[in-house]
Symmetry: C2
Subunit: 125 residues, 2 copies
C-alpha cells in the first residue's frame, strides 16, 4: 500500500462532497471548487474521488455518470428519472438482505437499493 500525503485539493474535494446533499459528480465538484481553486484540474478531481472511494472514505454510486456520497452509513437513494438528481431515501437499509440473497458460490458484500421516480421539481412541468 502506498503512503498517502496531505493535499489541500483532496481535503477540499472531500468537504464539497460531504457538504453537498446532492451526491455530486466529478464535474459538479470541479465546478464548485473552480472559484476558489482556479488552477484545479478535472483530472485531479477524478483521481482523488476514485482514491477516496477505494479507501472507503467515499461511496461511489453507479449511474450514467458516477456520483459520490460521503455518507458511509448504508441508506437508500431516490433517483429522478427526469432530471437525474439523487437524494437520500427515508427507508433504512436492511443489511439482513445480504444474508438471504446468497446464490450458489457468491460472496455478497453489500447491496444498493435505488428507487426511481419523479422528483417534486420535475412533477410540476
Amino acid at each position: 500500500m502506498k503512503e498517502q500525503r496531505y493535499s489541500q485539493q483532496r481535503e477540499r474535494i472531500y468537504q464539497v462532497v460531504q457538504a453537498s446533499r446532492e451526491h455530486p459528480t466529478a464535474q459538479m465538484v470541479y465546478d464548485a471548487l473552480r472559484p476558489e481553486l482556479p488552477k484545479l484540474s478535472l483530472g485531479t478531481v477524478y483521481r482523488n474521488l476514485q482514491q477516496m472511494a477505494a479507501e472507503g472514505r467515499l461511496t461511489q454510486l453507479d449511474g450514467p455518470v458516477a456520483r459520490f456520497d460521503a455518507m458511509l452509513a448504508p441508506h437508500t437513494h431516490l433517483c429522478c428519472a427526469s432530471c437525474g438528481q439523487v437524494v437520500d431515501g427515508v427507508l433504512p437499509y436492511d443489511a439482513a438482505l445480504d444474508r438471504t440473497a446468497v446464490a450458489e458460490g457468491w460472496t455478497i458484500t453489500g447491496h444498493s437499493l435505488i428507487f426511481t421516480g419523479i422528483c417534486p421539481a420535475c412533477a410540476g412541468k
Copy 2:
C-alpha cells in the same frame, strides 16, 4: 409519438438480449450479431436498445457501462465487483417497498435492488 416500423435489425437485437442470460451491453450485442449481420452498425445497436428501453420493451441497468435486460418482471440482480458480470438474483422483488419509500413530493415508479459481491469464477483467483 412517432410511428414505428419493422426492422430486421431491431428484432435480432431484441432476440439477442432476450436469449442471453448475461444482461448484455451494446457492444456485446453488436459482437453477437456481427457474424450474421456483418454490415450492422454499433450506432444502430445503441439506437435500438435505447428505443426499446424507452418503450419499456427492455430494461436498462445502470453501471459504468449500460446493460440491458429483456426480463421485464421485477427481480433483483447480483453484480460481481471483480469482473462486472451481472446475473439474476434469487430474492424476489418486493413491490411493496415502493409504497413505503415515498418521500415528500416524489412519485415512485419502481426500484432497483442490486447486490454486490464476488462471483464464483472470481472467488477462485
